[in-house]
Amino acid sequence: MSSPPSDLVLDLHYWMRLTRTLDNQLIALWKQGRGVGTTFNQRGHEAISVGAGLALDPDDVAAPLHRDLGCFLVRGMSPRRLMANQLGRATGVTGGRDGNLHGCGDLSLNLVGFISHLPQTMPVALGAAMSFSYRSEPRVALTFVGDGSSCTGVFHESLNLAAVRRAPLVVVLENNQYAYSTPLHQQMAIDRLAVRAKAHGMDSDTVDGNDVEEVHRTVKQAVDKARQGGGPTLIEAVTMRMLGHAIHDGAEYVPQTLLDDWEDRDPLRLYEEKLVSRKLVDEDYLARVEEKCREIVADAVDFAESSPWPDPNTVSDRVYAG
């Protein structure tokens, strides 16, 4: 296994750091009572959302969910617009019509937004992939889904349809051990979630969701295969949701030992250690990146908090396309 080129390595690291920094800032804002509505946590998911997101070409379509802050970022959605959306401002992605990461779609960035009803985004991403086949375009669609969501009907219908149409779709299944408060063993009678694909004759793989290079490499292979007409792939990425489901959730139902075990394998720290030991970066570099990310996020907060609220007179605008 050859190492990835160094610009990719630095990208993987940078976006994970930015994701973590933004996530931490959201938590801080809400703890300080500066939030609006709720916000989700993504800690533990950086390697998956960033590793997978960076496996795409700009023309490809991504449909990230509530743990995939990193994917929104690598696809070019700015921290300013994301933060403003979280705070319900007119300058946010949805102009205050939707909250947190919900609805953060932007076709100019080839980003498809999600809805709460999980995982209704899957068939939509599949449809994007089917449109590529329809037009013989060499493009791929990527979407994410959780372990809990892999129990749903729409997940299976989507895999079945993707497989029978050999659609250029890659599905990253984020097995983070829990659906809200419900552990895997109360959700399903399997423990290797990649087997879900077998029911539909689809290729699948399982990766360490805390190893960003492994995630990236495996998703990239699946993306390349899909682009070449090889059909869809389901990739299970195993990780742990390190915080509550959303900001209000203390996750007291998660055994501390489980968290401790996974804390030792924090995807960002693991990668930083790896890069230092490979001598690709030094501590100084890491500190500079961290500082840069902090600045970007601070700027996003300033931007969002000084942005106007949406005008209530526009509430009925934009229900329909012209």
């Binding site: 379509v61 992605v93 209704q120 985004t121 449809g127 449109s131 729409v154 349809l161 934009r318 329909y320």
Partner: protein, 331 residues
């Protein structure tokens, strides 16, 4: 019959649907059809898509597995990428199986993040043909109540074509309720070209001055029969709504200002149906013009029963409409 391309050949209601699909597929390579059993020689449970795969190939005529959530959701993704999928649900009754994909995802997308979802769902609806509780439903009220959708329901072959063309060209998710009892029993002139019937505009199916009957779909035929039977003593105006969302309030109000009396009719459950919206709206906006309460006639609050005597008791018809007209005039 002359061969002029501007003549209006006589087609059945379902032939008009096929004609609209063929017309739009010829004009726009982004238009495609998808659904269960619609492809090949079979051409769908009602044969509305028969012949299309021969002409346009299987890429544009896509047989799907029985997965309403996935294929409606997929149509949304295709529409986001600029295609214009026309989805057939085999019976309108099965639209509930893809409910989330419609009312939660597609309906809200433009409002939330500004992306257009230009698909059409063709939903073979309505009863009167002994098809029982799961092949006779008229579920339009669910969708009229849901923000972000448009809903149309043609009553004539000409509008079956014109509204389908308009729905395909519309940049929003449109649900097109076709009335199964009209498929082969109603024949009428259908313009040859590619003219659309504008969404949002009702049609005066019959002018009159004593009373207004407001309805849509197959009930227009029943209302027309009731109007004929009531003439010449009573001059009945019949409004064919054509679009259920957005409602053409101007045409409705103008008629009511003239007649002062209204019967609203639909085959769907009367309770909390479209008729309630129209009656409530008129009672508020045309209060001073109404000489009698708006009479609502609709299906009973029961699943559509199978057996002929029960279904006939469930479903309004020309006789019921005539009685409602009489009642409303005698108020």
């Amino acid at each position: 019959m002359e061969g002029s391309s501007n003549s209006a050949p006589t087609l059945t209601y379902i032939e008009a649907i096929t004609d609209a699909l063929r017309t739009e597929m010829r004009l726009d390579p982004d238009v495609m059809v998808m659904g269960e059993d619609i492809g090949g020689r079979f051409g769908g449970a009602f044969k509305a898509t028969k012949g299309l795969e021969d002409e346009f190939g299987s890429r544009r005529v896509m047989n799907t597995p029985m997965t309403e959530l996935a294929f409606i959701g997929a149509a949304t993704g295709m529409a986001l990428m600029g295609l214009r999928p026309v989805i057939e649900v085999q019976f309108a009754d099965f639209i509930s199986t893809g409910f989330d994909a419609i009312v939660q995802y597609a309906a809200t997308t433009h409002y939330r993040w500004g992306a257009a979802v230009p698909w059409v769902i063709r939903a073979p609806s309505d009863g009167g043909i002994r098809s029982g509780p799961f092949h006779s439903q008229n579920p339009e009220a669910w969708f009229v109540h849901t923000p972000g959708l448009k809903v149309v329901a043609p009553a004539t072959p000409a509008d079956a074509k014109g509204l389908l063309i308009a729905a395909i060209r519309d940049n929003n998710p449109v649900i097109y309720f076709e009335s199964k009892p009209l498929y082969r029993s109603l024949r009428g002139p259908v313009p040859d070209g590619d003219d659309a019937t504008p969404i949002g505009s009702a049609r005066i199916a019959r002018a009159g001055h004593d009373i207004t009957v407001i309805t849509y779909g197959e009930m227009v035929r029943q209302a027309m029969a009731a109007a004929e039977e009531s003439a010449p003593q009573v001059s009945v105006e019949v409004i064919d709504l054509r679009t259920l969302k957005p409602l053409d309030r101007d045409t409705i109000i103008a008629s009511v200002q003239k007649t002062g009396r209204v019967v609203v009719v639909h085959a769907a459950n009367r309770l909390a149906g479209i008729g309630a919206e129209i009656a409530a709206d008129l009672s508020q906006t045309a209060f001073e013009y109404l000489d009698a309460p708006v009479y609502r006639l609709g299906g009973l609050d029961v699943p559509v029963p199978f057996s002929p005597p029960l279904e006939d008791a469930y479903r309004p018809d020309a006789d019921n409409i005539r009685a409602a007209i009489k009642d409303t005039l005698n108020f």
